[in-house]
Amino acid sequence: MSESTGADLSFTFNGDCYEGAPGQSIAAALMASGVRELRTTRFHKEPRLIFCGIGVCFDCVVVVNGVANQRACLVEINQGDEIVSSK
């Protein structure tokens, strides 16, 4: 879906490998690869993607290199990042 801006960073999400471009947010890079679920909710285990897209709603939180509750729509990807869904 994305017009490639030269995807040259690789990272993992829930163990799978993905690629993205420098400057892209985690959410953008994953959505460009067709990911439709960034996390499941704490109580009802419902899937969530992004909502506000600008860091306000915290719907998109993931664990980035062990640090919990990072907003995937804000945090830019770095080479080798290990990203896991919040549960």
Partner: protein, 380 residues
């Protein structure tokens, strides 16, 4: 409601418990609040039901009885307010002699205590700082969700024939020959021979409206709330300096942390104590101090994020004991206020004391220590 037998001012935890206790004794009760349920300090504190932080004396007797009454109350109300006998772990920062001496004297008065060596301490709380090596476990320490408790208790009062009027501010009283006759409020006049002043930090204002005095003043507290985190904390954990601060009369800021996890995954870190009147401005230095103390107990919390800070004003009396009993001037005006940082824990016992005294029947303890009359001479 026409002609209630008693009017309770305040829909906080003390008002709620008093109303239910009176209802169960056969009274028709009307509860009045200028806001709604838990809109005062009950909605701005934590729900610790502690026996561990009290020295032997009347307050400990009240706390022990109250703690058991909380569990009876849950049965009576039949609905959940997250009551849980979680247990408290008090950690000695360095010298543990004071803590152990306190635990010994408490256990002589009915408090269950268990001295913890380093191994046992870390079994109970595996994420505690590894260098902490001594503490005491108090299995009776419990907790509830106080707002939900107040609401559920008031629901029971209503189901048993009582009534709640919200957004009704008490503006004055009518008395006849120094005896209570009616309460004047922003939503009208309500008559009853018995009025319970459970207005918490504002109970002094209510007493003044009735031409009396009650020395209740605010003691501010901040509480930190974190993001939801995995379970790192299994009991209520605090350091032994907390006990010293609770009893202190010092006006200056004191911080001593109680750290605990909640069902929703957030961690509560409380609380500071300072006397600054009703000043509600944020103080980020206090926030930092609380964070530092919590992370020194639990280093793993360093990576957990703070989401919110809230503050409340504990109602306190000069001698740090609650004011429970009839007014020294106005007959029929009863106070149950000034419970400071322990109002949740002490509420059911206080309510039982009031009801027993109104009915003139013996209670589980002598209420004299809490009588508002103890300040009558000073104030007149």
């Amino acid at each position: 409601m026409k002609n209630p037998d008693a009017i309770v001012i305040g829909a906080g935890i003390l008002g709620a418990c008093s109303a239910l206790s009176l209802t169960n004794a056969g009274f028709k009760v009307l509860i009045i609040d200028r806001g709604t349920v838990a809109s005062g300090t009950t909605g701005a504190g934590e729900g610790n039901i502690l026996v561990s932080d009290k020295d032997p004396g009347p307050e400990l007797t009240l706390a022990l009885r109250s703690r058991d009454l909380w569990f009876e109350l849950q049965e009576d109300v039949g609905d959940s307010f997250e009551l849980e006998a979680k247990g408290g772990v008090v950690v000695a920062r360095s010298d543990d002699s004071q803590l152990l001496a306190l635990a010994r004297s408490q256990s002589a008065h009915g408090v269950v205590t268990e001295k913890l060596d380093s191994k046992r301490l870390h079994e109970l709380e595996p994420y505690l700082h590894p260098e902490l090596s001594s503490g005491v476990f108090y299995p009776q320490d419990a907790q509830c969700q106080p707002m939900l408790a107040a609401a559920r208790i008031i629901q029971s009062v209503i189901a048993r024939g009582g009534q709640l009027v919200t957004r009704s501010k008490v503006l004055g009283f009518k008395t006849e020959n120094d005896a209570m006759s009616s309460v004047l409020t922003s939503t009208g006049e309500y008559s009853a021979p018995i009025v319970i002043n459970a207005a918490g930090t504002w109970a002094g204002e209510i007493a003044s409206l009735a031409g009396s005095h009650l020395p209740v003043a605010p003691r501010r507290g901040f509480i930190l709330v974190t993001e939801p985190a995995p379970q790192y904390i299994f009991h209520k954990v605090y350091d032994s300096e907390y006990v010293v601060n609770v009893a202190s009369s010092d006006a200056d800021l004191q911080t001593s942390t109680v750290v605990e996890g909640t069902r929703s995954g957030t961690i509560l870190i409380g609380a500071s104590r300072e006397r600054v009147g009703f000043d509600s401005t944020m103080n980020y230095e206090i926030v930092r101090k609380l964070a530092a103390q919590a992370t020194s107990l639990f280093p793993i919390l360093r990576d957990v994020q703070l989401l919110r800070v809230y503050r409340g004003f504990r109602p306190y009396a000069p001698d740090h004991l609650p004011l429970i009993g009839e007014d020294y001037r106005v007959k029929g005006l009863w106070h149950s206020a000034g419970h400071e940082g322990a109002g949740i824990g002490l509420a059911p016992g206080s309510a039982a004391l009031i009801t027993d005294t109104i009915l003139g029947r013996p209670s589980f303890m002598d209420p004299a220590a809490f009588s508002p009359k103890r300040f009558a001479e000073v104030l007149q």
